[in-house]
Each structure stands twice: as structure tokens, then as C-alpha cells.
Amino acid sequence: MKRYSAFAIAREGLRQHTGWERAWASPEPKSSYDVIIVGAGGHGLATAYYLGKNFGITNVAILEKGWLGGGNTGRNTTIIRSNYLQDSSAAIYEKARSLYETMSQDLNYNVMFSPRGVMMLAQTQHEIRGYQRTAHANALQGVSTEFIGPEQVKKLVPIINIDGPRYPVLGALWQPRGGTARHDAVAWGYARACSDMGMHVIQKCEVTGIRREGDKVVGVDTNRGAIDCNKLGVVVAGHSGQLADMAGFRLPLESVALQALVSEPIKPCMDVVVMANTVHGYMSQSDKGEMVIGGGTDSFNNFTQRGSFHHIEETVRALVETFPMISRLKMLRQWGGIVDVTGDRSPILSKTPVDGMFVNCGWGTGGFKAIPGSGWGFAELIAKGDSPLCDEFSMFRFREGKFIDESVAAGVAH
């Protein structure tokens, strides 16, 4: 793999850009691999990358039904934060956030990580107490956050209206080292690094069945033929239930549509991410100038990758009250993704009843921020059979009552 660098740009600039090579290969599937990962989104590709980097396992195929990063990896609002309450959540999300800091150098691919700061507004007395508690918990967990007052909120976000009639801004939980990254670049960067290690990233390859011998997984059937494997990692978000069904077990998940939208591009006006959970809306400004707005989930099971319009109305109504200057903006695009939600709103990174088969799912409405940490832990789980980052996130915790009771979602009160 040729490295990307300022020198490479200069070199290619002098020869009509004829020397760039494809970022990743598109090989035909082999008949057998040590590990097959189903799903070439951020979490699947990160898992494969750390299998190779941390454990030297490179005889790996990553199978993708559609195109690389075309699911929720390309549909989220790119927010990265780790200000969670429970220790097990803080550990995996903070691992992820810290890996994002060095990801561009690590992958030699610019993922445009922008640690611009994430602010979660407190707009009720209850929220003030909740966020102060989180800030204290974060201090003990080694996650840098603080509770700030309304004056400081106004100073960081001049366009905000802190004296709203219904929900005045009373303070905020502030994580200065959170931020955003370019979501597609995360998938592309991992895919390029995996391909460079000799792994096979195979797109348009849909898994149609999971083959077992007794209790052990031995391979998958796909629309491009049967492929054998020793271990199987399923990282398919909204369709996890379908894959579990093929293997003969059920998961404590339901799939719903979550939507987001962007405005027309405007000049830079807000250089932090703001989440307003009481009124339910969150917003940041992309490098292109669009205001990126996250909406709510539908309340019913849905696989259509589009959400109900009234959620947009509710979200925008709340944000217009908090940011009066956006009231005249036009909406440019709106889209939905299918997110898999668990009973306690925390993810599942787990062994399964099928020997050699592992699942990484249940990230619900907040998976993008966790991609590198999730891949790091899940690779360890696949390679070694257990992982300190994943142990608490077992799919069997629901039977045992060991919930990780976290409003993971979009930080939205449940």
C-alpha cells in the first residue's frame, strides 16, 4: 500500500494524479477463512482491523450485503463522546474516543476527527442533578467532563437562547474532548488498512444461511457460494435478529428507524456539538456548513430506512426554540437508518449459544462513537474467548438481570 502524505499529493500533482492506487482490493471469496465477519460497517471493519493488528489474525473475510459503510455507518450524525454513567459503558466508549484521537495517524487515512467538544444541555432541575452525577462518575472513571453553568454555555455557543420560555438552559455537561469525525472515512480507512493486511473485503455478498455441525459454526452460505470459517463474527446492526434466526437462536433486540437531517449550508456559526435531551434534538455544524440534526426513533418495528415525518417536526420545533436563528433554514436532506435496540439500551458484544459464533449488536441509536472501542474489544473476544471491555455486555445478562442501565441511545431520557 502506498502511504498517503503531503509528498504523495505533490508527486501525484506533478503527474496528473495517475499514480493513485485503489484504496482496497475487491477479491473473489476464497472457500475458507479463519474468521468471517458479517457486515462491513464501521464496527465490522474495526473488528477485522484489530484482529489483524492486535492478534495477527489476517486470514479474514469481511462480507457485506450492500456496499461498504452504506448502513448506519453512513447514516449517523457522527458525534463522538464518552460521558456515560456506568463503568462498563464509560470504559468501552472512552477507549473508542481515545482511539479516535490517533486514528488518522494509525490508519494513514484522514478521518477528520474534530475534538470540538460535546455539550449536553440541562434544561430541568432533574437534568442538572443527573448530569452532575454523571460528571462525578466520569471523574472517578478517568473521563474528562465537567458541569458548566448557563453563562459558560452562552459563551461557547453564542447562537443559543438560554432564556427559552419553556425550557431555559440551566447548565450543561461539557466534554471538551468529544467531537465529530467523518463517518465514511472511518469505514474507508479501516477497509484500506484491512485490505493492506491481506484481508478480503467482499461487497455485494449477502449471507443467506449459517452452517453448523452440532453446536459449532462451520461456515456461511452466501449469494456467492458457501464459505467455511472457524469463527464467525456477526456485526449487522438492524439485521442481527435475522442472522441469529439463521443460526437458530433469538436476541433480545428490536429494530426501529432512527432519522437525521441536514439543513442547507451556512457560514460557520457553532463550533461545538449541542445535545438537548429534554426537548430531544441535537445539532452540530459540518465542515460543509450544513447543520446536522439528529431526530428521534419510531416507536414501532421498522426496516424501511425512513422514519415518520412527525419526528422531524418535533425535533426541529425544539431546536428552533433553543436556536432561534435556524428558524429560516431550509432542510436539504433527510434519511433513516435501522437501529437495533436492546432492553437496557446498552449494546451486546457476546458469545452465543453457537460455538465459534459471536455477535456485536444492540448499539441502538449511538454506535458510531463506539466503533474503534467496539472493534478493539470484539476482536479480543473473538481471538481469546473473553475481553475485559466486552464481558459485561453479554447477551445473557438479560436472563441474569445484570443490566447496564444506561440511556445510551442519543443520551435521551427513557
Binding site: G241, E254, S299, F300, R399
Partner: protein
């Protein structure tokens, strides 16, 4: 926008008037049941891509709970029926069979 017909008051209500209540026909377990049974009752759900049966409440209307048969991959509604039953009525099952031959959902088909 999902529009469901309330079988009690007869109104065609859109989803802002309704409250989704999750999977229908869930078997409830009580004292003396195993951990696995409680898990299946409380947390494990069908989550099909296709035919699904759900509970809905006409929250901003007559207030009654009812059941709906719906396709989660197209949002097509096959019909709604009374909540005072343990399985979908034959008429709705026939309607689904006409549109989705070979469908099955838990023990129903």
C-alpha cells in the same frame, strides 16, 4: 405516516394519535417460572423483517388497546383486531396469506 383503524371506536387514526405497545400475543410467565421463561417474556422479541403482530393503544382517542397485523419491511397494514384474543383472527391470517404466501410468525402461519 402509519394509519391504523381502531376496531373499537372505528376511527382511522394516524400514528401521532396512537401509542405503540410492542409485540402482541406475548406469553406471560408468573411465579415459579424459569429464568429463560422470564427472559423470553420480558426481553426476547420476534423482530421480524416482514409480517408482524403488535399491540397499539388509541391513546389520544378512545383509549382502548387493540392489535395490528403489519409488514415491517413495507409498512403495509394487513388489518387491526380486538385485543381480547390470544391469536390473530382467521380472516386476517387469510388476508396475509394472500399477500405473503408462506408467511409464519411464532406458532401462527
Amino acid at each position: 405516516m402509519l394509519i391504523l383503524h381502531c376496531p373499537y371506536c372505528g376511527v382511522d387514526a394516524d400514528e401521532t394519535e396512537l401509542h405503540a405497545g410492542g409485540e402482541a400475543h406475548v406469553k406471560r410467565y408468573g411465579p415459579g417460572s424459569s429464568d429463560a421463561e422470564f427472559e423470553s417474556y420480558l426481553f426476547v422479541r420476534e423482530n421480524p423483517k416482514g409480517v408482524h403482530f403488535e399491540r397499539w393503544r388509541h391513546a389520544n382517542g378512545c383509549g382502548k388497546w387493540f392489535h395490528a397485523a403489519r409488514c415491517t419491511s413495507t409498512l403495509e397494514v394487513f388489518g387491526t383486531y380486538s385485543a381480547q384474543t390470544t391469536e390473530p383472527p382467521q380472516e386476517i391470517k387469510d388476508k396475509i396469506s394472500a399477500k405473503r404466501p408462506g408467511w409464519s410468525w411464532r406458532e401462527f402461519a
